[in-house]
């Protein structure tokens, strides 16, 4: 269960958001929407613990993430704007790297996983020669062999074609139904069953309450 208590985020002396409270229970998909520059990525950076908030805390399983960084990261899968795929390595090698670097099922057949993300035939070509969309699919392949319960995705659908978006959506829904949690930001409309769909609309801090 992911929770934030009156989170305030200040970037370069600008208040992005203030007193943000948030609870995401297992089985829920939280869709964070908002105009550009309102601080969506900064909020995700705070949730992953990569950056620290001006005040307020983020809790995972009722414990502050800053206190239990290593255990928290065992349950966390994060996909940022940058895909995290090394261009010199092939799709296969990248996946092996992900497998070892994160807690994941090692008995899974990588060729099968790459098939699922639509990279059949591209397994042993250096990622540099693949398109941006294909490189993104290598990063998405992690979802098929990860044991992490919490997925935090920063605009996962960018540079993906229709069919890849469809399969990613089903994967998210399957993960949520198995008791996982998904937090994602995207400008696309999502077709996710009402039961586990939650929306958060981040607004630009209005002028008055700009001063904390």
């Amino acid at each position: 269960m992911l929770e934030c208590k009156d989170l305030t985020c200040v970037r370069e002396q600008r208040v992005l958001f203030k007193q943000l409270n948030l609870i995401v229970k297992p089985g829920e998909i939280l869709h964070i929407e908002g105009p550009n520059g309102v601080g969506k990525s900064s909020l995700l950076a705070l949730l992953t613990g990569l950056s620290s908030a001006y005040s307020g805390d983020v809790y995972w399983q009722q414990q502050k993430i800053t206190a239990q960084r290593e255990t928290y990261y065992q349950d966390l899968l994060y996909l940022g704007h940058k895909s995290g795929v090394k261009a010199e390595l092939t799709a296969l090698e990248n996946c092996q790297g992900f497998q070892r670097l994160y807690s994941s099922q090692t008995d899974v057949d990588l060729y099968d996983v790459l098939l699922k993300v639509g990279l059949v035939g591209y397994e042993d070509i250096p990622a540099a020669q693949l398109s941006a969309g294909q490189q993104r699919r290598i990063a998405l392949a992690r979802m098929y062999f990860t044991e992490c319960k919490l997925w935090i995705l920063d605009e996962p659908f960018t540079s993906l074609d229709k069919e890849a978006i469809k399969s990613l959506e089903t994967c998210l829904i399957k993960h949520a139904q198995q008791g996982g949690i998904v937090v994602l930001t995207t400008h696309q409309a999502l077709s996710i069953p009402e039961a586990n769909y939650k929306k958060l609309f981040l607004t630009k801090a209005t002028v008055e309450e700009h001063y904390v």
Binding site: L50, Q74, Y78, S83, G84, K86, L89, R100, L101
Partner: protein, 222 residues
Amino acid sequence: MFNVFIQVVRQDLLAAFRHQSAILNPIWFFIIVVTLFPLGLGTDPTLLSRIAPGVIWVAALLAALLSFERLFKDDYIDGSLEQMMLSPYPLAWLVSAKVLAHWLLTSLPILIISPLLAIFLSLQIDAFYALSLTLLIGTPILSLLGAIGVALTVGLRKGGILLSLIMLPLSIPILIFSTMAVEAAASGQDYLGFVLLLAAMLVGAITLAPFAIAAALRVSIS
């Protein structure tokens, strides 16, 4: 725990071997800088042999500095540095794997060809052993200290000059003790004391630097 270490090192070496230029550049730089000195200062062997230790060590220092940019920059650009920071394994542990991979790729080749360059500078034969020994012990310290500077400046656009400004003062003791050791060896005196001091610094750097690098990464990536 340990296979993650090997995995990171293997991946880095694999990535580097895929495009050779990144490895050869520091070596070429090292050779060119060393050959500049005889051209600049004349070819009188006694003069050259006196300045040989200092020249080779300063060239090794600058070559290491040149290659540091590659240590975290590529990973920062393609996002794998971020991913590495979010892995359940301690960041200090992963970072030391990356520094080891970087050391193998850049300083080891310099160590291998340094005797050749010592001949260029007509260094006395019995100083060769001391030179390679000090390079073997000294360059890992440079990599560890430099990695702290790189971690601090990885998020910045114009980090290059800043990196040298941060790292050079820290590498002065290494330069001093190594050149003194090689000079002592060249004049036939016992140089073990200096080498032991360098080894002490290496042990200190190995234990403390990874945590400083991890803390610096947490600052520049957030």
